[in-house]
């Protein structure tokens, strides 16, 4: 009895008068709101600074968005499936450290492969714990993230780890600009992963099942969907995205350490939600996460270009997230 009779009445009447159109209007308005915010900032920055619309700045902007963008892809996927993954940055750290350690023994390629593998395995462990122990994913991944951070400390003995001198340059390959107008390899990796996640969610039967599980787990189960396997897969993909983000961070710094990217999982979740992905699950899209990332990155970029004091940046970011979520809530009120 979660849906009120009032609602039912409204919906039934809505249907009679072409409610599909009304629903469509709401959706469009919401998309519009988020996109409008981004456009407004872009226009404002283009007009007030001479540097914003330069290739250098845009390339830089994309590069800045890569790490949080990969994490936002992970967060979006997991949130749509009706769960949370607070361990992504801990997985990121363990993966990055693995990359450094394995690179030392077996070369850069092996190091990167090992990092991705570790990310996938840790993600799958998250999924298995959530599915079998049936603790809320928020708590389960919080506890697991503490364990993973601890594991990272053990692996590094608490120090910053570096790849061997002779391969240090190759290890940083991801941070290099490419022939594509100077766009960094990290940015390309981010765009590639985002495109894959987007297609998987929007076009595959797996994506359909992810939405169904997030929207109504019991209905999905009774429709013959193996909820447990899908959940484990979603968490594993989340882990792989985190590992790739870890490779980028490690490449930029030429090193890895246990405290890498601490707190960034919340930025990623915020990006997903700001874009309009529902924290209740079952609704959202990768592009929404990307819009959210763009918005958050633009604010940092804007502060930089305008020469504003960055001590205000966090306040603005927080206010923006709150504003976007309130707006979302407002537009959904007729449904809630």
């Amino acid at each position: 009895m979660t849906t009120t009779a009032e609602n039912e009445a409204a919906l039934e009447a809505a249907e009679k008068a072409g409610g599909g159109a009304a629903a469509g209007r709401f959706t469009r308005l919401r998309d519009f709101g988020v996109v409008l915010g981004v456009v407004a900032i872009v226009v404002a920055l283009s007009l007030t600074t001479e540097t914003f619309l330069t290739t250098g700045n845009l390339v830089n902007l994309l590069d800045q968005a890569a790490v949080v963008g990969l994490l936002a892809c992970a967060a979006t996927l997991v949130i749509i499936s009706g769960a949370f993954d607070l361990s992504i940055t801990a997985v990121l750290a363990v993966s990055a450290i693995t990359a450094v350690v394995v690179t030392g023994g077996a070369g850069v390629a092996a190091g990167m492969a090992a990092a991705v593998l570790v990310g996938g395995v840790l993600g799958a462990i998250n999924g298995l714990v959530v599915v079998t122990v049936k603790v809320h994913s928020f708590i389960a991944t919080l506890a697991l993230s503490i364990m993973y951070r601890g594991l990272a400390v053990i692996l590094t003995a608490g120090a910053i780890v570096y790849p061997p001198e002779d391969v240090a340059t190759a290890f940083q390959a991801l941070s290099w600009p490419t022939v594509l107008g100077g766009i960094t390899a990290a940015s390309l990796l981010f765009l590639l992963v985002a495109a894959v996640c987007w297609i998987v969610l929007a076009r595959t039967t797996f994506g359909r099942r992810v939405y169904a599980i997030g929207g109504n787990e019991e209905a999905a189960r009774l429709s013959g969907i193996r909820v447990g396997s899908i959940r484990v897969a979603v968490f594993a993909i989340s882990g792989v995205c985190a590992a790739l983000a870890g490779l980028i961070l490690a490449a930029r710094g030429g090193s890895a350490q246990a405290s890498m990217a601490t707190g960034m999982e919340l930025t990623a979740i915020a990006a997903a939600v700001v874009g309009g992905t529902s924290v209740l699950g079952g609704e959202g899209a990768i592009w929404r996460g990307l819009i959210g990332v763009l918005l958050i990155t633009l604010i940092g970029n804007g502060f930089n270009l305008l020469g504003w004091d960055t001590i205000y940046q966090q306040v603005v970011q927080g206010a923006l997230i709150l504003g976007a979520v309130s707006f979302d809530r407002l537009l959904r009120r007729s449904r809630a």
């Binding site: 009779a5 009445a9 919906l11 249907e15 009679k16 079952g282």
Partner: protein, 509 residues
């Protein structure tokens, strides 16, 4: 006391659900509010009691307009709403809930004894036998409802709205509640009662108002109405309540579903049944008799503790919906909102959900094939006024239910298990769903149908099973049994396991 409701209007997202509704209530009278699902009854009651803000409309209390902007305002004027979803704090006691937020106190310190005395008085007045110290979450639903009524009275409510208060009560509980409603009116209160049970409305109400599509149709003395006349006002046309006759089952029709001694906890205690191709088997029984649990155990939604299920001779593993579906079994579950549909997703995605594997290429959804299949299914099921891309929640209950059927019919199951095929759907959709079930059986599908509406079971099924306490206690061929006999069997009290004839339909073809 006289309450005039003037010009109530409300629209959601531009779609009107209430249009200029006006009528009057009187103190000392019970006023029935009737209409089909979606007619605007609940919305009106909520608007009057401050739970939703109407777009237009005002309330006059004895000729003076009063302003009601919130439930708090409404309570201040003596308006209380007892809605379908009870608004109690489960972790607090009965006493705390009855005086919620208005606890008697001295300088901020609660004087519980004063509350307790007042409670005892109230309980005596209504005849409710409630332990003031019991936690609300431990109470059965009927008792929780009594707590809400006491709370309304404790707040001094003179106008009490009740939204389908008897929907989930047993017969005895309903009778007691109706007596209390009469008593409240006798004490001078104006009671507004929303109910789908027409006889109940006619027996307890002094006046009735009928709404249709958000518009006021008629207000008048209940004595002038009959169930037929009320239905006519509700649907705007005379209504034939008849069931399509199912096609006879062929002599040679094979048994498609065979269940033997299926067990699941205390709910299902050894159920055996056979369903032949083209046969509709109806299961009647009270809520809690194990009807739904039997369906779920057969389908594998719940893991059965024992017994065998075979589909066309192939045994089904316990607790695996995917395996059951591969074998050709489908289940339309009891609650479309909680178990059936993903409300936030589109009609198309919902229809496709149970058969995604049938229209895929290397893991990708074949969009064209899916669009055609879903579109054709919507056409077959006569789901009008919706497009495939719109979210399912925008559809009416009847259309949602059709979408739920469509989801299971895309892959043409051999046996369809249906739990409450027409719960919460409008009259037109109901008869379409009846027709659909009969047609499916005529095409050779086996149908096992559970319904709380005995008429539905008697009207559609070739064979009727009656369940009680997790067992089948009676089996009848079509036309061999009356509603009264079914109810008598279902209600028979004495769960003596030896006396219950657990009729395994062994001897049937």
């Amino acid at each position: 006391m006289r309450i005039d409701l003037e010009g109530f209007g409300k629209a959601y997202g531009g779609v009107p659900v209430l249009r200029d509704v006006s009528f009057s209530l009187r103190g000392g009278r019970v006023h029935g509010l009737l209409g089909e699902n979606g007619a605007g009854k609940s919305t009106l009651l909520k608007a009057v009691c401050g739970a939703v803000a109407p777009d237009t409309g005002r309330v006059l209390l004895d000729g003076r307009p009063i302003s009601i902007g919130s439930p708090r305002d409404a309570l201040r004027h003596g308006f209380a709403l007892i809605s379908q979803e009870l608004a109690l704090v489960p972790a607090l006691t009965v006493l705390d809930n009855v005086y919620l937020g208005r606890w008697r106190n001295r300088l901020g310190w609660r004087t519980r004894a004063a509350d307790a005395r007042a409670f005892a008085e109230l309980a005596e007045r209504t005849g409710f036998d409630l332990d003031p110290g019991a936690l609300v979450r431990d109470l059965p639903l009927a008792a929780q409802q009594q707590v809400e009524i006491l709370r309304a009275l404790a707040s001094g409510a003179k106008v009490i709205g009740m939204d389908e208060p008897t929907a989930l009560l047993t017969k005895t509980e309903t009778d007691r509640l109706l007596a209390v409603i009469r008593q409240l009116a006798a004490e001078g209160a104006a009671v507004v009662l929303i109910s789908h049970f027409l006889e109940e409305v006619l027996s307890v109400c002094d006046d009735v108002t009928v709404l249709r599509d958000g518009r006021h149709v008629i207000t008048g003395p209940a004595a002038d109405q009959t169930p037929d006349s009320l239905v006519r006002h509700m649907v705007g046309r005379p209504l034939d309540v008849f069931f399509p006759d199912p096609a006879p089952v062929a002599e040679a029709a094979p048994v498609v579903l065979r269940a033997r001694d299926v067990r699941r906890g205390a709910a299902v205690r050894g159920v055996s049944l056979d369903i032949r191709a083209g046969e509709i088997v109806g299961v009647a029984g009270l809520v809690g008799s194990g009807r739904s649990e039997t369906l779920r155990a057969i389908f594998g939604a719940d893991h059965r503790d024992g017994g065998e299920v075979e589909l066309e001779g192939r045994p089904l593993p316990p607790g695996s919906p995917p395996a059951s579906m591969r074998a050709g079994l489908a289940m339309v579950p009891e609650s479309r909102k909680e178990q059936g549909l993903v409300l936030g997703r589109s009609v198309r995605e919902n229809i496709a959900l149970a058969s995604l594997g049938s229209r895929q290429l290397a893991g990708f959804v074949r969009g064209g094939a899916e669009g055609r299949a879903a579109g054709a299914m919507l056409g077959d099921l006569d789901v009008r006024g919706s497009d495939l891309a719109g979210p399912v929640w925008t559809l009416s209950g009847g259309n949602q239910q059709k979408v739920l059927f469509g989801k299971w019919l895309l892959d043409r199951p051999k046996v369809l298990l249906v739990d409450e095929p027409t719960r919460g759907v409008d009259v037109a959709a109901k008869s379409q769903i009846h027709r659909l079930l009969v047609d499916l059986a005529a095409d050779g599908m086996g149908v096992l149908m559970v319904s709380s509406e005995v008429e539905e079971v008697l009207g559609l099924a070739h064979r009727v099973l009656v369940m009680r306490h997790g067992r089948v206690v009676g089996e009848f061929a079509r036309g061999e049994v009356t509603r009264e006999q079914v109810l008598a069997l279902a209600f028979a009290d004495t769960p003596s396991p030896t006396a219950a004839p657990a009729t395994p339909p062994e001897g049937r073809p």
